[in-house]
Symmetry: D3
Subunit: 249 residues, 6 copies
């Protein structure tokens, strides 16, 4: 929307995730695209995924502190590969508790980063309760951050659009691709970020295949002016709020 005056600061994207690896598999392309346009991306990881997403490390007998450090190091490398800033709230996973204190910390991040776009998990996931917990706090904090009367530092924000990124088992989470994002130009950056996550190496090919499949679907829905059928990579998103636009396209 261009009713107001153009912002003098670069656009800002806020990504809120449950675990340290989520932003790579699910939104790495969107992050790299925003960075490639000169925009700022901030990733808030509520936990390191130290208990629920580090099965191999536990089987290898590692300790909690060690695992958290491993996950942190990997995630920082992946964020660097994408050109984004990552913050860890270290709230403890499996289960990630939904608390007012944690929600309040997210409100402060909203008011500091003042996002133009918000990315987070969808509301349902029968395979991992931390994902809905993160989504709920991300959505609640976004609404609270808009209220002038909410007693947090920083000025109240506007109502940034929200995109839910794709869960691991989309059909079981009520996930329907409503937005297909063409991430072909930044595919190499996303792949590089994935390869920073050594503890989840079994997912590299899986999410490369997913990127191709969403690319096929993207081309199938891309309308009359798409060029020749070269390799396209895509990411899928849902919108919990209506798209606001000045042109149907």
């Amino acid at each position: 929307m261009t009713h107001g005056k153009a912002p003098t600061t670069p656009r800002s994207t806020l990504v809120i995730t449950a675990h340290a690896g989520d932003f790579v598999w699910r939104a790495g392309g969107a992050i790299a695209l925003a960075v490639s346009r000169g925009e700022k991306v901030t990733i808030a990881c509520l936990t390191y995924g130290e208990r629920g997403e580090s099965a191999r490390a536990w089987r290898e007998g590692r300790k909690l502190a060690e695992i958290k450090e491993m996950r942190r190091t990997e995630a920082e490398a992946a964020a660097a590969a994408l050109g984004a800033e990552v913050r860890f709230l270290d709230a403890g996973d499996y289960p990630l508790p939904v608390t007012q204190d944690l929600t309040d910390r997210l409100v402060r991040i909203y008011r500091e980063t003042r996002p133009d776009v918000v990315l987070t998990h969808p509301r349902d996931d029968p395979y991992n309760g931390d994902h809905p917990a993160a989504a709920r706090m991300a959505l609640d904090a976004r609404v609270l951050a808009q209220a002038g009367g909410y007693p947090s530092e920083g000025e109240a924000i506007g109502a940034p659009p929200v995109f839910f990124f794709e869960p691991h088992q989309p059909e079981m989470c009520g996930f329907r691709p409503e937005v297909l994002l063409d991430i072909t130009p930044v595919w190499e950056a996303k792949r590089a970020a994935m390869e920073c996550l050594a503890t989840q190496q079994h997912l590299w090919e899986y999410y490369t295949d997913l990127g191709k499949r969403r690319g096929v679907q993207l081309r199938r829905n891309a309308g009359p002016h798409l060029g020749p059928p070269h390799a396209t990579y895509g990411e899928a998103y849902m919108r919990p709020y209506p798209q606001v636009t000045e042109e149907l396209a």
Copy 2:
């Protein structure tokens, strides 16, 4: 999408409706916006709405041919006010039959107009069976027109995005505003087109109010950079197919 070379012809919008007045109340803003950008808009009215949407004329004792002529004249004036071309297929309303012949006529219009965007009714409407009938043929014809093997004149088309415009009782038709289009710049044109429909004068204020209400909702969802709260008018749409995009916004 800009993968392919830019089209040398202006963008084309195809609007397929059941009755002569539908394109004004439901999509007049989108049509006027496209025209204001120098694009071409073609409206295919499957019927004049002579039986189902002309209650007052029947109460006044008018005859079928006379009513069809009235509706045609009004609709042509409204299309002119919006800057669009309107065609009448005169298939007979109440009920509008779903036939392969009529679907085939729409395939030919798709291949001739080669739309970049398609607007039509949503799939369900418990108050008016003609609307779903029109939607079904519009959607079927769009798929058939894409098939190289379909035996119609003209070259196969791509897969243009489709938008469902808002029905009269949205909540009863499963209609959820997924896209809010800002039609403020062309509001006067839409109002002028509405005023061409003298036989439905009771709807002028009703749809002016709806435009305002969708404008309020648009501002509420418009994100951080929207300007001061002046009068905004909106139209609401649904997408049956995923949005394809190069940027989340």
Copy 3:
């Protein structure tokens, strides 16, 4: 609604069903209640259920004409037990075709009976395609009968409320009890009508049990002023259109 003047004729109920037995099992209580209030009830059976609902008769080697006659005789006895008029359109079942001619015959019945209430099948039934076919024609005809321009005998009608009665396997048909009707005062009449259907004797106890179960549910939802827990019988319905009322209760 009492905005207009009170009608001088008794209230009229129109029941449209696919097969000859449906009105008994599914709406016998509602019919008997209306009759008990001095109202007129007209049942339009689109078929006798001669092919799809007469398994035993076919196993016994009976012929088509004989089976139709049996079903007709039974249904007339059941309608008499309820105090309603029954008409047979003899459109042929399994499959019941959806045609404009048959829909048009229903329009004429709407305009003749001028119903205050309409009862029919719900829209979906994966076990019997005739039921959705009947529902579709019943709903389409109701809309057409309201149009002044529709070329049928009789004057255009208003918009009578519609109730979907309960299918045999409710959970598989998307049926949710939205209205629980207390049929306790006329239970004996419903049971007597069921016993007129000798060819489906295996259903007598089944639908008596269902009546009790809906009665239990009715009491559970009946609010603070319901009396002592004596035997209550109920029937369940859905509303495809909103209830219009002058009081929330």
Copy 4:
């Protein structure tokens, strides 16, 4: 239902809302109608809406206590204009916490007011988390209040019907008008109550338009006996529990 003996006390309606203004915009007509029939209406406002629904006051630099006082004064005037009693639980908004203590306070109000009808928010609202929080506690307390074993003062109640009133963005909250209440006879009282809410003056016309629109829809669904098309005002509701009735209408 009239199975039991008629209650000797007037009928009682309990309205449970998140914020001080909700009962006016969403249910003012239902409240005024009940009062006009000599019934008692009690409104339980869980908060004053001091943080989330008082944007202008915060922009003007007012303090928390001052804002709460303003909202209280306005709401009491509006309740008086409708003829209802209002109570404030002052639980703190944005976010309204879901707690067992607050639920327990509602149980006591249920057992004291012994409602025949309950009005509250629908279960979902992606724009305001306080509304679902209020709905959840209102619904939980209603179930607890029915249990003889629940350790609260007062006698266990029956199962009063519940109506969800209309949220600000109905289509985004899964709200479908299932009940259309004719509030024409008390429209002036609802408008007067709205005008008591000076801090939300921008909503007066908005909700007047909504009342008209629901009135149009009401007439469209009102059946055959509705009178001439004079101005009708309506309010829309949903039912989470089945309607129990002795007559289909």
Copy 5:
């Protein structure tokens, strides 16, 4: 699945319920069937249903401790009649709180019993908040018990299939029979277990009728090779997770 080596221990079923009687009415047949195959069944009752499910006892003026003892005695007798072990967590009902401590106790039971099959309540029940609370903790604990990093005694488990048993008002809880279990061979055992629950004698016939009705539905869906129509009893279940199989049948 037979990829791995056959387990040397008998198969294990874990049933998690809110109240002491739930396992009898809703899953008594499944429990008795498993026992009849030589398998082990463990029932974890989160509460005795002392406040919410013991209306008659409260009306008779009994005290809390007495009611809990009555319910416990009855439930132990019913479990014995079915051949299963029952454990009581005594967490307090109406409302049953959702807590991390209680969830953790369930994790320990998962890791101890190592279930091959899990039975619990469906996720929604507008008539009883304890049922969804129990379901939520049962599902959360199942996921946590699978995580190697979760700090509980016992080894991480696999992902046992889950079945939701049928609630009292299925259609109001979004319950659709996805699995129909033939419990005819153990019907007598289920009936005997029901008769252990003297405080809920009014439900004996109700759930006998339900067993028959699900039996009728079972036969209707049972495919081509079902034998003669003798009395069949059934129980209905839903699956929140996909069925994994080596053969479509």
Copy 6:
């Protein structure tokens, strides 16, 4: 179900598809598995997919008869590779018409093949209207074939379970994997059948990837006794009718 006597003939599977290639991509594993157990599989292709699924052939300038012959030859080779019989009804695609005559031809095939299991398309597909048309006729014919009174050759059949196979864009067709079939033992046969379809070579890798992905999901849902994580291939299905079983697993 084993209530009746064991059938003396081998089990029979009937696969009904819109186009010649569908049975390979979507159900090749299920077909090969059934054949590997000594069962009979009959595939009824309603069309060759000559217009809608043969884009490359049309671009190469081939004629209709030639394309039909190519598709037939390929499909016969693929069926042979799977060990199944294939029949072509040559009803004409794009659009595949829904007619009573074609439905009747399917009734005869049901009564001849007497299937224990039926596989077909899901009910919705916004990308290809032929798929829902085929599904509708397959489902209607199955119900008609069960009616003793339906005037077709052959004896009435029982009610075989139905499985919907996975469409090309599952999330857009409301497809949720309800059954995950382990096709690892016959993967090579499915791949060989795919390679018979030279005109759709671009899909070989796509559906190999899909098989792997469904295999990953299968293992994730496979419960506690699955063996070591070797390569697993899967196919996903939905059930429109309840599963009938003697054991929860």
